[in-house]
C-alpha cells in the first residue's frame, strides 16, 4: 500500500519532470544545445503565476495561461539575444552561455524578489479521492491530467500542424529545410517558446502541489528533467515523457524506501549509468560518428 502511494507520488512528480524535459529535448533536437537556463524558466513560470494570481485574483486556468505566455516570451527573448548569435559557435561556447543565463536569471530573481521562499496561493483545494482502497490527493490527479493533456496537445502540434512539420524538418536537416522555404530562425524561436511554456506549466503545478516557491527551485528539477530527457533519448519527444515519469518514480521510491538525503544523487547516478551504457537513451536512435 505504501508502495502504491509512493508510486502515485512518483508519477505525479514525474509528469512535472516530463513537462520540463520536453523543453530540453525539443531544443536539443533542433539546435543541439543543452539549454541550461530551462530549469530557471520553470522557476520564473512559478513566480509569474504567483504574481498573476495575487495581483489579478485569477483562478487556476487563467493563471496557468499567464505563466505560459510570460515564459514563452522569455524563452524566445533569451534565444534571440543570447543563443542565436552563437548558433554556429563551438558547443562549449553555447553551454557556457547557457550556464551564464541560468546564473543571471536565478540571481536577478533573488535580488528583485528576495531570497526567501514564498508561499504559493491556493489556486485549487486539495481533496482526498478514494479509488479502490487507495487515497489519492486530487491535486496529484490534476497535475497528472494537465500534464497528459499538454503532452497530447504537443504530440498533435508536432505531428499535424505546419509548424510541427517544419520543426521536424529543421531538426532533420537545417540546410535542406531552408531550401524548402522554411524560416529556420522563426521555427527555432517557436520551439523555445513552446518548450518554455511547458516548463511554466511545470512550475505552476509544483507551486500548487507543494505551495512553496523560491528563486533557486529550478536548479535540481532542471537537472533531473535534463536527465529524464537523456534517459529517454534526447531529441525524442515520447522518450522525454517516459524518462520524466521514470525519474519521478525513481526519486519518490528512493525517498520512501532508502533515504531522502540521497534523492538528489540518484538523478546523477542514473544519468551517468545511462550515458555510459546507453548514451542514446532508452528510445533513442544509435548514431555513428562521421569522419
Amino acid at each position: 500500500m505504501i508502495f502504491m502511494q509512493q508510486l502515485i507520488n512518483g508519477i505525479a512528480l514525474g509528469s512535472v519532470y516530463a513537462l520540463i524535459a520536453l523543453g530540453y529535448t525539443m531544443v536539443y533536437g533542433i539546435v543541439q544545445l543543452i539549454n541550461f537556463a530551462h530549469g530557471d524558466i520553470y522557476m520564473i513560470g512559478a513566480f509569474a503565476a504567483y504574481y498573476a494570481a495575487n495581483m489579478f485574483n485569477l483562478s487556476f486556468v487563467p493563471t496557468l495561461l499567464a505563466a505560459m505566455v510570460v515564459c514563452a516570451l522569455l524563452g524566445m527573448t533569451i534565444e534571440r539575444l543570447a543563443y542565436r548569435p552563437i548558433r554556429k559557435a563551438p558547443k562549449i561556447t553555447a553551454l557556457i552561455t547557457a550556464i551564464g543565463i541560468s546564473l543571471l536569471l536565478e540571481n536577478l530573481v533573488r535580488i528583485i524578489i528576495g531570497p526567501n521562499p514564498k508561499s504559493f496561493p491556493g489556486l485549487l483545494t486539495s481533496k482526498m479521492v478514494t479509488i479502490g482502497n487507495l487515497e489519492i490527493d486530487s491535486l496529484k490527479l490534476v497535475t497528472l491530467g494537465v500534464s497528459i493533456g499538454l503532452m497530447i496537445l504537443l504530440t498533435f502540434i508536432v505531428h499535424n500542424t505546419k509548424v510541427g512539420k517544419a520543426m521536424r524538418a529543421v531538426s532533420q536537416d537545417k540546410d535542406a529545410a531552408r531550401l524548402m522555404g522554411i524560416d529556420i530562425d522563426r521555427i527555432i524561436s517557436y520551439t523555445f517558446g513552446i518548450g518554455s511554456a511547458l516548463a511554466a506549466v511545470g512550475g505552476v503545478l509544483v507551486g500548487v502541489l507543494y505551495q512553496r516557491i523560491d528563486p533557486l527551485m529550478g536548479i535540481m528539477p532542471g537537472l533531473k528533467a535534463f536527465t529524464a530527457a537523456v534517459l529517454g533519448g534526447i531529441g525524442v519527444i515520447p522518450g522525454a515523457m517516459a524518462g520524466g515519469v521514470l525519474m519521478g518514480i525513481a526519486e519518490s521510491l528512493t525517498k520512501g524506501f532508502i533515504s531522502t538525503k540521497f534523492s538528489d544523487a540518484i538523478a546523477f547516478s542514473i544519468l551517468i549509468i545511462i550515458l555510459l551504457f546507453r548514451p542514446s537513451g532508452l528510445l533513442g536512435k544509435k548514431s555513428s560518428e562521421k569522419v
Binding site: 557556457i96 552561455t97 546564473l103 538528489d264 544523487a265 555510459l276
Partner: protein, 325 residues
Amino acid sequence: MSEKYKYLIILVASVIVYSIIQLLIYFGILNDYYVQIIIFIGINIILAVSLNLVLGITGQFSLGHAGFMSVGGYLSAIISIKLGLPFPIALIIGGIGAAIIGLVIGFPILRLKGDYLGITTLGFGEIIRVIFVNIDYVGGARGLMAIPKKTTFTATYIATIITVLVIVNIIRSTHGRALKAVREDEIAAQSMGIDISKYKLTAFVIASFFAGIAGGLYAHFLMYINPQSFGFLKSIDIVMMVVIGGMGNLFGSIIAATGITTILELLRELQDYRMIIFPIILILTMLYKPSGLLGSRDLSISRLYNKITRIFMKGGKVKDEIANS
C-alpha cells in the same frame, strides 16, 4: 635563446616577485586582508591552470573541478588533524587522493564528449558533495573544523609556481602536442597513432592532482571547510577563469584568475549584485569574444626576449629565429 637561460629567467623573476611581496608583507604595507587575497589568487591560479590542461589544451569539457578540490581539501585536512603529518606531505596526499578519484571517475566517463561530458562531470562533482554531506566523520553538512592553519603566502607561492611550471612543461612537450591533437580532432589524432583515451585520462588525472593541492591549501588557510564551499558554483568560477582568460592559454588563465579573484573581493560589498555582474561578463565574453579576452596570445619569454633585443641591438631577432628553428 637556449632552454637553460629561459629557466634562469623564470627562476630569477619568480624570486624577485616573491621577495617584493614578502618585503611588502614584512613592512606591513600589505596587511592580512591583502595577504588573504594574494593567497586566494594563488589557489585560483592553481585551479585555473590545471583545469585549462583539461578544458583548453585537451578540449574535454569538465564541470566538476571543485569536486576534486574538495577531495584534496578533506583528505589533507583529515591527515593534518588526525595524524599530524607535516603540511607538505598532507598536501601531496590530498593531491594524490584527488588524482585517484580523477582516475576512477575519468576512466569510464572520458569516453563521452562535449555537452554530455560536461553534464556528467557536473554530476560527479555533485555526487562527491552529497557523499561528504553524508559522512559524519568529516562533519557532514556542518563541515570540518579546527584544521591547523598552515597555508602561508610562501607555501601558496611555491605551490603556484610549481603547478604552472609543471603544466607549461607538459604542454610544451611531445605529450602536450598530442593533447592538442586530441583537442583538434580525435579521429585524426587516433589515426596518427595517438592513444587518445590514455592522453585524455592522463590530463584529467594531472588536473585532479593539482585541484587537490589547491583544495588542501584552501582548507589549511580557512581552517574550516564544508561541502557547500566546493559546489557547482565554485566549479563554474574556475571554468569562467579559464574561458575568460582564453581556452588553452595558460598566461590568460593566470591573468584571469588574478583579475577575477581581485574583482570578486572588491565587489564583496555588493554581495548580491556581483552574482549578476559575473554572469553578464561571462555571457558578453561568449557573445563578443568567444576565444576569451586574451585569445591565444600566450606570454612567451622568447618573444619578450626578442622584443627587448630588437630594441637594443639590431639583428638579435634574426639570429634568435635561426637558433629556434
